[in-house]
């Protein structure tokens, strides 16, 4: 019982910081209906600015706190202006990519300036421990709890009692109506964004003080927690976010004490998935998920699906070039880059099937890629199966895993699909890290055998041709299916799920099929990777990797088959091209994402789309859907 009280106290303190972050996510989601993947940057920047100020002013905590929060406020302002406002007429998922890019840039800059290591917030940060009955509590836990109550209390007052608050609620309810009522929506949105960012900043400084430790990736981790807490509370409910944060904090602290601290970080991912499966509207959410409908991607026309016409030159020319390349290139380093490019193309192709064609914006493909890699590695090393059999088995198993993966998200749409798949990707990663008997945990699996071909072990060229064959076969399958009733049905599902159901097609079955196919292809790429590099570890399959896969598809063009392959290949080559600037690699990556979405949202090879607003102005016929989305 005493232990439980202690769990509760620690949980509330940590949960308080999650609650603040979740409030930030929920505020932005409520007003703009977008998920701010850049919020992690506010934590990191606030914490580091706080550290810097303490170093300069000699541990004046208050100055550090205020400075950190102000910095977060500014980050919020910049994010909104650069990564959110220009996208008002884009599908809502696009700002997910840009805010993500913004987060990458911020994180990378912090890492570049301060180094990747964990450091104390301040060397002489005083900390003392008090005992209240059987429970001990640190001074920073007390401060955290006090600040959380103060911050959320103030926010509650602002939202419920001031005219600004009622304007926020009006915009959240119906932005068009708010505009008609004369509310300056742009100003209101940016203020909300800044408040949300400041909340993230408060959480960042408090979190840093709580553990007296800061590191550049702290934002990404906290962001995951904020997502989970926000979803648990019902996404757009500020009150729910607070409750969600506290529950998450207590659940984590209980897991660390009663189960194992290794699983602590898995709780957020598990909650994310569990809540979305069991009660997508969260604890305090409204019953309807209407807002989700507006995340429809149908404002993007798809480029025509290339016909599977084997007599056409345009299909054979790239194949011919790919076949002949090894004759020209004798350098193993370049062969390696080319191999990785083809493999990434294959993964992007598989993700494009789900995200581009079926309209399910999945952030879960690192899980499939990782599943395929681990399955084949385990089959061949632990069970001693022949390599070819392992690879085949792994592809089939990953396909089956795709069905399991799709099951929880069958009822979900829009952002909720993104959140749930992100959670699933994180959960898979946690399992790779912590199911040590099977995966050897963080140590990874070594000495994965290379395949043989008529007694010859594969060399650099052999692997190149193998992945080329994999890519060609999967492209062939994808093109064949896209030009079939199945392909028409999934493209239709992207436009309108209810419409598909109204012709007698169960969309849940379609989703499972498309996920199975997509997972099998990504799993094939993973299996290839395992045998190619002969060593795999969970590091290669984090949720961040999932994000980079989505970036490839967006870069190349959502819904374009050649676009996705090109995007995968190009972004895979980027780290090598940018080797001279490896320290800013992630930042450049983020910058490219922002620029592509801002200036060429259809992707490099995608089809131009017309913003729904522009269509109406020009007096062109617009479907009802487009009109709804213009709002």
């Amino acid at each position: 019982m005493d232990l439980f009280l202690q769990v509760l106290v620690n949980g509330f303190a940590v949960g308080g910081t999650y609650a603040l972050g979740a409030v930030g996510i929920s505020l932005v989601f409520g007003v703009l209906n977008i998920i701010n993947f850049g919020q992690g940057a506010t934590y990191t920047v606030a914490a580091y600015v706080g550290m810097l100020l303490m170093m300069l002013t000699g541990a004046n905590v208050l100055v550090a706190f205020v400075g950190g929060v102000a910095a977060a406020f500014i980050v919020g302002y910049i994010t909104e202006r650069i990564a959110v406002r220009p996208l008002r007429n884009q599908p809502l998922q696009m700002s997910l990519i840009t805010t993500m890019g913004f987060g990458l840039i911020a994180e990378n800059l912090v890492q570049f300036i301060f180094g990747p290591q964990t450091q104390p917030l301040s060397a002489d940060l005083s900390s003392s421990v008090y005992s209240i009955g059987p429970v001990t509590i640190t001074n920073w836990e007390i401060v955290t709890l006090a600040v959380v109550v103060l911050a959320t209390g103030t926010l509650h007052f602002v939202l419920s009692r001031t005219s600004f608050g009622s304007a926020v609620r009006a915009v959240a309810e119906d932005r068009r109506a708010a505009v008609l009522l004369g509310i300056d929506v742009n100003r209101l949105i940016i203020v909300t964004f800044c408040i949300a960012a400041a909340m993230g900043g408060v959480a960042g400084v408090l979190g840093a003080a709580l553990y007296n430790a800061i590191y550049p990736t702290m934002g990404s981790l906290s962001l995951t927690k904020a997502f989970a807490a926000s979803v648990l509370g019902g996404m757009e409910q500020v009150g729910g976010a607070i409750v969600g944060g506290l529950i998450l904090g207590v659940a984590e602290s209980a897991t660390a004490v009663y189960i194992s601290s290794a699983w602590r970080d898995a709780i957020a991912f598990a909650l994310l998935v569990g809540v979305l499966v069991a009660m997508p509207t969260g604890l305090l959410g409204r019953r309807d998920l209407d807002k989700v409908e507006r995340t429809n991607l149908s404002v993007f026309p798809l480029p025509p699906v290339p016909r599977l016409d084997l007599r056409r030159m345009s299909i054979w020319l790239p194949v011919l070039i790919a076949l002949l390349l090894p004759l020209v290139i004798n350098d193993n380093y370049y062969m390696r880059i080319l191999t990785i490019m083809l493999m990434s193309g294959m993964i992007a192709l598989s993700l494009n099937l789900v995200a581009g064609f079926a309209g399910l914006f999945s952030l879960g493909h690192a899980a499939f890629y990782g599943f395929g890699a681990y399955a084949s590695a385990i089959l061949s090393t632990q069970l001693g199966l022949p390599v070819w059999l392992s690879i085949t088995g792994s592809i089939l198993l990953t396909g089956a895993f795709g069905v399991v993966f799709a099951w929880p998200i069958m009822r979900l749409r829009g952002h909720y699909v993104t959140m749930a798949t992100f959670g699933l990707s994180g959960l898979s990663w946690m399992i790779m890290l912590n199911w040590i008997d099977l995966t050897r945990g963080p140590m990874g699996i070594r000495a994965i055998p290379a395949p043989e071909f008529f007694g010859e072990t594969f060399g650099a060229t052999g692997f190149y041709y193998l992945i080329l064959a994999f890519l060609l076969i999967s492209t062939g399958i994808v093109l064949a299916l896209l030009n079939s009733p199945f392909g028409r049905a999934i493209r239709a599902m992207r436009d309108d799920e209810l419409g598909v159901a109204s012709v007698g097609q169960d969309t849940r079955v379609l989703k499972m099929q498309v996920f199975a196919l997509s997972a099998a292809i990504a799993g094939g790429a993973g299996a290839f990777w395992a045998h190619y590099v002969s060593y795999i570890s969970p590091d290669s399959f984090t949720p961040i990797v999932s994000i980079s896969f989505l970036a490839m598809v967006v870069f190349g063009g959502l819904g374009s088959v050649p676009g996705a392959i090109f995007g995968g290949a190009a972004l895979a080559a980027l780290p090598e091209i940018l080797r001279f600037a490896s320290e800013y690699r992630l930042a450049i990556y983020g910058l490219i994402l922002i620029l592509v979405v801002l200036y060429r949202p259809q992707g490099l090879l995608g089809m131009r789309h017309i913003a729904p607003d522009a269509r109406i102005r020009k007096g062109q016929p617009a479907s009802n859907k487009a009109r709804e989305e213009a709002a």
């Binding site: 064949a480 239709a492 436009d495 479907s623």
Partner: protein, 257 residues
């Protein structure tokens, strides 16, 4: 007594405290054209959504060809032979007109995914069969000239026709049209009028329509059901309904009578 094609009895649906449909009972006989009319918010579209399983009723029952369908999911109801269109259009804007119609036939496709992948002859035969059937619908709805355009680029009236073609593609015995004339010009409404007659007379379809356009309703309906505030307030032939004082009151308000 012949068994009714569609038998709705004591249908009830509340959204929170709001009762959208209450004690609604009616039937549709094979080969009829029946219209549901009523002021905005009378519960007409809700009734459609209940029949087609977009959401389940909170009470009452729906039988189609004698079997219970209430609470069944939309795709299952369609499978049994009820096709529908939507009040605010749910075509697939980024698919061509032909593909919209072909998606309507998804369930009729007998070629497996494997035959599609390998492009076996069976796949080609099946595609040819589906396309031939799509051709007939495209001609019937006079969409030939626009068949390869994206549905999003069509004028509103044509988009309505695409949706009707798609609904017909699943071969429904009963077709539910939710405000098919909305946004159509008089010439288009005249064409719609002819189309509905042809569907009944040549193709043997039974049709249930929600519509506000009174002259269309009066011309094509065998029977009319009048709803107000979730309830059925009158039912009868067009001339009977026109004379009903209750109907006049619902539409024009009590003071006018």
């Amino acid at each position: 007594m012949t068994r009714q094609l569609l038998e709705v009895s004591q249908l009830h649906r509340a959204f929170g405290g709001l009762v959208a449909v209450s004690e609604l009972s009616f039937h549709v006989t094979d080969g009829e054209v029946v219209s549901i009319i009523g002021p905005n918010g009378a519960g007409k579209t809700t009734a459609f959504n209940l029949i087609t399983g977009v959401y389940p009723p909170t009470g009452g029952s729906i039988h189609f060809r004698g079997s219970q369908v209430s609470g069944m999911a939309l795709h299952k109801v369609t499978d049994l032979g009820i096709g529908r269109t939507f009040q605010n259009l749910r075509i697939f804007p980024n698919l061509t007109v032909r593909d919209n119609v072909l998606v309507g036939m998804t369930r009729k496709n007998k070629a497996s995914m494997l035959t599609a992948c390998l492009r076996l002859p069976a796949f080609g035969r099946e595609e040819a069969r589906l396309n031939a059937e799509a051709d007939r619908l495209i001609d019937l709805l006079e969409l030939r000239q626009v068949e390869s355009q994206l549905a999003r680029n069509l004028p509103y009236g044509n988009q309505r026709r695409v949706e009707i073609a798609r609904a017909l593609a699943s071969d429904p015995a009963l077709l539910l049209l939710d405000e098919p004339a909305a946004g159509m010009n008089p010439a288009e409404i005249e064409e719609l009028n002819n189309l509905i007659r042809r569907l009944r007379d040549e193709f043997g379809k039974t049709i249930l329509i929600v519509e506000h356009h009174m002259s269309l309703v009066m011309e094509i309906s065998d029977r009319i059901i009048v709803m107000d505030q979730g309830r059925k307030i009158a039912e009868g032939t067009p001339s009977e309904v026109r004379e009903s004082p209750l109907v006049v009151r619902a539409y024009l308000g009590a003071g006018m009578v």
